[in-house]
Symmetry: C2
Subunit: 151 residues, 2 copies
DNA sequence: CGCCATTTAATTGTATACAATCTAATTGTA
DNA sequence: TACAATTAGATTGTATACAATTAAATGGCG
């Protein structure tokens, strides 16, 4: 290995951790598409509904902190979900700055139709339970560092 | 835990592997921004240049298979990099369907200015070498499965 | 040779993402 | 209580992503 190789070694894409993370994320989201098409949601809409299914009602701010998304992304996305009849958007009485997002009955009903999605996806990525567990922990470790450094 | 909890367990965002992958990818890319701003590149432009720095000249198709991106994303991105003077775009003489992307001298010169980027980023994510190695292998394992299933 | 299938980019349309800015509501405080 | 600082969403502008379609070039085959 000559000097030039050594010098630029860190700039090789194969030596980056972020790139496979970025590529993996996109490829898995791509694999979601045929399943999500059946319930009429995009991936971002799906994870938004997942958080709402568990909480039923929350502010845009709370939703964003769960999803790592800001109002620039959420506002138009929530308007689309509202147009589909899956949720309602209304200002809080206590604090008019807060917009409360609440899942409708129709939105809750979609939850049953979505049950097959994680089942089908589990077949696509075949990691051992150990690998999956390790991956899960390490990703949340990175996300945790991120949160600390921002607050 | 009641029946309802059990039924929807798989639809909890905390039980998904894709979500932390997606969130991690975005958060790390966000951390790149201040450094990449200094060399005038976005993250996607940066990884594109990284592949080109190693190969100097390649078709859009080849570039896309390295980056997991298609012409819909690459065409406008490459036009921007061309406008910055970092690369040239020209059709192949052998096969006019192929568009050859070649880094200019200016593009190669940027490589030296980019050396600090991976150095700074290494300070941001603090994983042990073992964790980083494991994460790397498992991500490429997933990407590998993906490639096999598509071809 | 002629023609159809394939291949490569470019284009079109839709949906994110996110920084930066703006607006309205609320809070802290002198 | 005025009023500056803060906060929450919405908006604006830029840059991806990607499916689907189009257009041009090439390859294969009768």
């Amino acid at each position: 290995m000559n000097t030039t190789d050594t010098k630029y070694e860190t700039l090789k894409i194969e030596n980056q951790l972020c790139f496979p993370l970025y590529a993996c994320s996109k490829e898995i989201i791509r694999q979601y598409k045929p399943f999500l098409d059946k319930i009429g949601l995009t991936y971002t809409q799906y994870i938004t509904m997942m958080v709402l299914w568990e909480n039923r009602s929350m502010t845009v701010k709370e939703l964003g902190s769960h999803l790592y998304l800001d109002s620039g992304t959420l506002t138009p996305l929530l308007k689309k979900l509202e147009a589909k009849g899956l949720l309602t958007r209304s200002r809080s009485n206590k604090d008019e700055r807060n917009l409360i997002v609440t899942v409708t009955e129709e939105g809750m009903a979609l939850r049953d139709n979505a049950l097959f999605v994680p089942q089908e996806m589990a077949k696509c990525v075949s990691l051992t339970p150990e690998e999956a567990g390790f991956l899960y922990r390490i990703l949340y470790k990175i996300l945790g560092q991120d949160i600390e450094s921002e607050e």
